[in-house]
Each structure stands twice: as structure tokens, then as C-alpha cells.
């Protein structure tokens, strides 16, 4: 498949932006969480600092997000996971309110009520959940709505390989296949469900093979590569837009950070991550753009600077925003 230069550049710039976002967040997240600022005897305090709580970062998993979202418009829906930043950024969720949400600020997407696992942006039809496997039923619902409204919108449900063993996966695939819903089920296989490797938790080597059980196409993408993801998912999106029903895509990808920041990762073979980084998808796409499309070093540097500036601006915005008033905790349980 020949991929247009503007798509390649878009995917590259978004991957750079996502990577810088996650690396910036990794550093900011550690502020105030280490001795001596915390309770005596602790090595780390998850509840301290400007961004408290769990933090699941997606560095290394950028190709899945950009390769799929490059096909989508604002009318299409994305439902993400507990590790949602790469999906949100690729779907066009504005960085400032997204980051402010993670700082718990009133300017955040959810006025500080949701936090990093619970980002909701109606304008870009993006949401996510901290519950494993929860994206799939919700995506079925927005797909059903598109169908009933007579639109060719599609819904993408992202989930990890661990979620393919959750009941919601099997129920959603059957329902979407039965009702020919325009859903693309995208399994991000980063090999690890927290500490449990896929081989010890999943009865088949490829989750995509389970598509056969529901009579829908199953597509395997074995490289952590944005262009390959983009090409592989194209027929699934076209099929969904034609009203022919769902597909299941599985992409092999790599988790560079721990399950959450502060995860000791004692379960992970030493050197695994540095080995994975030898095949990093970002320089790979940069090299492709240079050799096949004449991206100059100056253009590259400008693109990187632009992406990084957007991220830095968002963190500045979040840091300098105000916290919500205490009593606002009591609002929004119901709409008026």
C-alpha cells in the first residue's frame, strides 16, 4: 500500500508528540514522590506531587494509535484504555485540558473529576476507562448509534491483549458481528498484563485468530510500525463504513515503561526494554521520510520542535491552572 506523504508526516509528528508527552509526564509525575519529601521509610509515594495517583504511560505504543487514527475524522469514535494518552493525542484531544485533567485542575476535560484514566472529550468523540475490557461494549454502542442515525461513522475500541480474556471481549465481538456494527476492535499486544506475560494468560498465540469464532475478519500486524498498522487497518475501516460489520486487528507493540510509574518491574527480564528500543518506531519512520520523501534535517527539526512546544505549553497551562473549589465535588453526579 502506497501511503501519501502527508499521512506519513502526520503520523510521524503525532508519534513525536506522544513520545515527548509521555517522557515529560514521566518526569513531572515523579515530582514530590521521592524521599525526603514523603513519609519516612517509603521509597516512593504514589499519592504525592502535582500529578498523584496511578500513571500508565504508552511510550513505545505510538504506532497503534497513529496508524489507526490517521484513518479517522472527528465524527468517528475512539474508546481507549487505562493507558490512554497516545490514543487521545492521535484522536486530536486538545493537550491543554487533557493535561490539566491529569493535574486535577478545574480547566481539565472533566474539571479534575476524572483523572488520567478517565478522559472524556465529546468534541473529538474520545473516551476511555480504567476497567479492563470496558472499551468494547461502549464502542458497540456508538457504532449502533451511527447505524441508526444513517451515518458512515465508525467506532474504534482499543484494548490490551490481557483484555481479550475478559467476558466483555467475547460478548462484544459476537454482538457487533451479529448486528453488523461498524466497530474496529484493536488489540494492543504489548505482551504484558501487568506482570503476567501473554503466553501464561492467553490460550492462543494470536488474539486476532479469535475473530474466526465470531465470523469476522481477523488481521495480524506483527511489527510495531505505524505504516504497517495504517495499511493493515484500511480494509477493516472500509468494511465498517460500507456497513458490513466489525473486524478484529491485533498489533504487536512494546511497552517501554512499567505497568504504572513506580512499578518495580521485578517480573520483567533485565535488558528487555533496551532490546525493544533498538527497533524504535519513531526513528524508523523518520528514516523512511528522509529516504523516500526527502524530509530534510531542518524540516525534521522544525517538526519535532513544533510538537514538543505543544506539549510544553500544555504542561505549563496545567501547572498554572487553578484547582476546583471543594464544593464542586458535589456537582455533576447528574446533569441538571
Amino acid at each position: 500500500m502506497q501511503v501519501a506523504k502527508d499521512k506519513l508526516l502526520w503520523m510521524y509528528e503525532k508519534m513525536v508528540e506522544i513520545r515527548f508527552y509521555e517522557e515529560t509526564m514521566a518526569a513531572v509525575y515523579m515530582e514530590g514522590k521521592l524521599p525526603p519529601a514523603i513519609q519516612k521509610g517509603l521509597a516512593f509515594d504514589i499519592g504525592s506531587g502535582p500529578v498523584p495517583g496511578e500513571m500508565h504511560l504508552a511510550a513505545g505504543q505510538e504506532p497503534v494509535a497513529v496508524g489507526i487514527c490517521a484513518h479517522l475524522s472527528d465524527d468517528d469514535t475512539v474508546v481507549g484504555t487505562h493507558r490512554p494518552h497516545h490514543f487521545a493525542i492521535a484522536k486530536g484531544v486538545p493537550l491543554k485540558p487533557m493535561t490539566a485533567e491529569m493535574f486535577g485542575k478545574v480547566t481539565g476535560l472533566g474539571k479534575g473529576k476524572g483523572g488520567h484514566m478517565h478522559l472524556f472529550d465529546n468534541a473529538h468523540k474520545f473516551s476511555c476507562s480504567g476497567i479492563i475490557g470496558a472499551s468494547m461494549p461502549i464502542a458497540c454502542g456508538t457504532a449502533l448509534a451511527a447505524k441508526k442515525l444513517g451515518q458512515d461513522w465508525v467506532a474504534v475500541a482499543f484494548f490490551g491483549e490481557g483484555a481479550a480474556n475478559q467476558g466483555s471481549f467475547h460478548e462484544s465481538l459476537n454482538l457487533a458481528a451479529l448486528w453488523k456494527l461498524p466497530v474496529i476492535f484493536v488489540c494492543e499486544d504489548n505482551q504484558w498484563a501487568i506482570s503476567v506475560p501473554k503466553s501464561q494468560a492467553t490460550s492462543v498465540a494470536w488474539v486476532a485468530d479469535r475473530a474466526a469464532g465470531y465470523g469476522i475478519p481477523g488481521i495480524r500486524v506483527s511489527e510495531n510500525d505505524a505504516v504497517q498498522v495504517y495499511a493493515a487497518v484500511a480494509p477493516a475501516i472500509a468494511r465498517a463504513r460500507r456497513g458490513e460489520g466489525p473486524s478484529l486487528i491485533e498489533v504487536k507493540t512494546d511497552r517501554y515503561f512499567g505497568h504504572f510509574q513506580g512499578d518495580p518491574e521485578s517480573y520483567r527480564p533485565k535488558g528487555e526494554v533496551s532490546q525493544l528500543k533498538l527497533n524504535d518506531p519513531i526513528p524508523k519512520l523518520a528514516a523512511q521520510l528522509r529516504s523516500a520523501h526527502g524530509l530534510s534535517p531542518a524540516q525534521d527539526a522544525e517538526l519535532v520542535a513544533r510538537a514538543q512546544a505543544r506539549v510544553s505549553d500544555a504542561f505549563e497551562f496545567a501547572r498554572h491552572s487553578a484547582y476546583p473549589a471543594e464544593l464542586d465535588a458535589l456537582n455533576d453526579v447528574f446533569v441538571p
Partner: protein, 348 residues
């Protein structure tokens, strides 16, 4: 010379020690759950068990709670004694049918013929900004439904004795540990929860509340981390000349009604401090116990309840601190009780 038989343990260490001792004593005890093996449990409740007992008895599961909690029910019916972990209680949503409609009911529906010695362990509580899907307590939800005993320890000593009791019990027991008292090296905790724990196995019977601190002015009823907050509040109140009695219920099912009545008969004032939702839960239940015994309890002030005010747990720190009762809120509520007055009956 005296033998040193106790050590100071964290609650996580006490729980895993109780499990290890029962696994040594009884070959039918085994553990299933997510990340309970190599990781030792995300909150440390199964630390070191894989090394000691191997993966046939310490079984990491797929992320398939309906399947493995149902498996525990089936294995128990067939004569084993499973301990099964639901990583966060908030995840009950994906497997509630197996918990509520099967584990909790099969004994009753079988006329008592099906015995289900399952211990369902789970992490509860907020305070570290993990937001609405990872911070709930929900013990009220499980205590509401008949058929499961509900254990909610506040410290390491109780946790070990209650866990041993739970494993030996022939009925389903939900064992709910608050993350903020486990003594984890990566989360702030209230240090009163780490205390001296005997090396040998021992049991603490269910349905026996513990008077953590005696007092004559007001009774503070609590469980889990809130007990530790209540103790800190009681110390502060002591400086103001107010003597608060702190009653740790330890188990909600069975509930030690007599200890609640005994304490409130003595003090005449009741504050329930709770981290679960306010509506239809623990705090209402305890208030109802008093209301139903007003023929034998003389109150000096109205009953007060502190709990999460019927909103999901917000992420943002100031909002979370606001909805979860804190030590200062307990102090303030007791101060209000001390100036509260009962309506006097009108003269005939």
C-alpha cells in the same frame, strides 16, 4: 528469659503470613488471582508465597474475574479451600454475578448442603488520587447481600487473626484490606496499622468488635483505615478534654450489635466515621441499631454520620480530600456532638 514471639509487621506481611501458615497446615488451601504470583499481589497480600509454595498452589490468572471467581466457588464445592483475589473491589462490576448470585447464594439455595469455604480478598479505599474506578470501599454493598461474611481489618494483628479465621471458616468470606494501611513502600499509610504480631497462628472470632480506645464522652464507630483516623482524632480530642471511645467493628457480617449498644449506653453519643458511601450503607445501619434500641439507650445528642457524600470519588486532590472523611472532620463532628442537645419531651 522470655522468648520473643512477636514482631512488628505491616498489614500486608501479616496477611501473607496467615495465608502461608494455613497453606502449610492444610493442603487444600490455594490462591488464585491477577499478579498474585511473581508480583506477590499488587498490594503485597501474597508476597513470598510463590517462592514457598510454587505455581500449582499460587496461581496467576488471566484477566477473567468471572471465570476465576466462579472457579473458586466450584473448587470449594468440590472440597478445596480457595483464596481468590479481586485486585480492586471496584472491579466487582465484571464478576458480580458469580459473587452475588452464586458464591453468596448456593449454600442457602442448597438448603445448606453446599459448603463454600472461599476467601475472596480485595483492596479497598482511596486517599491517593486513583479516582472513581479505583478508590471505593463498597463493603456496604457486600454486607447488604446475604450470604457472604465481610471482614474489614484495621491493623496487622487483627488482619492475621481474621485471615486465619477466614480460611478456616466453611463459608464465603470477603476479606477487604484498605490500601492506605497495608504498609506498602510506595504509598503513604497510617502507621498505627503496623503493629506487633505473634509468630504462631491464631484466630480472631468474627462478630467481635474491639474497643481500640476507651472513652466516656462519645463513641466513634469505624472500620479499616477510618479506625486509624479515629484514633488520631481521639488523641486530639483528648487534648481538648473530650474522651472518645473508638470501636473497631472488625467484621460487618456478622455485626457485633451488642458492643455498639454497650458503648453508646456508656457515652450517650454516637459518631459513625465511614469511608464508604453515605446512603444505604454502614453508617445508616449503625444509626438504625441505635434507633431500634432507644428504649434502652439514652442519647445525649443526635447521631452523626461521616461518609462519602453520595458522589463517585473525584480524582483531583482537594476534591478527594473533601469527600473522604479526614481526621479534622472527625474532630469537628465530635465537637458538634458535645454541644448537641436532645429535644426535651413537652411537659404534660
Amino acid at each position: 528469659m522470655t522468648m520473643k514471639t512477636t514482631r512488628k509487621l505491616t498489614m500486608a506481611q501479616a496477611i501473607s503470613e496467615a495465608i502461608a501458615q494455613e497453606m502449610t497446615r492444610d493442603d487444600t488451601v490455594f490462591v488464585m488471582g491477577e499478579d498474585i504470583g511473581v508480583y506477590g499481589g499488587i498490594f503485597g497480600a501474597t508476597g513470598g508465597l510463590l517462592e514457598q509454595f510454587g505455581k500449582d498452589r499460587i496461581m496467576d490468572t488471566p484477566i477473567s474475574e468471572t471465570a476465576f471467581i466462579g472457579t473458586a466457588t466450584g473448587a470449594a464445592a468440590a472440597g478445596l479451600r480457595p483464596i481468590v483475589e479481586l485486585m480492586f473491589v471496584d472491579f466487582f462490576g465484571v464478576c458480580m454475578d458469580q459473587i452475588y448470585n452464586h458464591l453468596a447464594k448456593n449454600t442457602y439455595m442448597s438448603g445448606g448442603h453446599v459448603k463454600l469455604p472461599v476467601v475472596l480478598t480485595t483492596a479497598i479505599g482511596g486517599g491517593y488520587n486513583d479516582a472513581a474506578q479505583h478508590s471505593q470501599c463498597l463493603y456496604g454493598t457486600f454486607a447488604h447481600m446475604p450470604g457472604i461474611k465481610v471482614v474489614v481489618p484495621s491493623n496487622a494483628y487483627d488482619a492475621k487473626g481474621l485471615m486465619t479465621q477466614a480460611i478456616r471458616d466453611d463459608n464465603p468470606v470477603m476479606f477487604m484490606y484498605h490500601k492506605g494501611i497495608m504498609g506498602l513502600p510506595w504509598m503513604a499509610y497510617l502507621e498505627g496499622s503496623s503493629n506487633d504480631v505473634p509468630e504462631e497462628a491464631y484466630t480472631i472470632p468474627f462478630g467481635q468488635a474491639h474497643v481500640v480506645r476507651e472513652g466516656s464522652d462519645v463513641t466513634i464507630v469505624a472500620v479499616s483505615q477510618m479506625v486509624q483516623k479515629a484514633v488520631l482524632a481521639a488523641q486530639e480530642l483528648d487534648n481538648q478534654g473530650i474522651q472518645a471511645e473508638v470501636l473497631d467493628l472488625r467484621t460487618l457480617v456478622p455485626l457485633d450489635v451488642e458492643s455498639v449498644l454497650k458503648s453508646v449506653r456508656k457515652t450517650g453519643r454516637l459518631l459513625v466515621a465511614d469511608e464508604d458511601y453515605l446512603g444505604f450503607g454502614l453508617s445508616g445501619e449503625i444509626a438504625a441499631v441505635i434507633a431500634e434500641h432507644l428504649d434502652t439507650v439514652r442519647l445525649k445528642a443526635q447521631v452523626k454520620r461521616l461518609a462519602v457524600p453520595n458522589v463517585p470519588i473525584p480524582y483531583s486532590r482537594p476534591l478527594e480530600q473533601f469527600v473522604i472523611p479526614q481526621v479534622k472532620n472527625i474532630v469537628h463532628a465530635v465537637q458538634e456532638l458535645m454541644v448537641g442537645r436532645m429535644v426535651q419531651p413537652e411537659a404534660a
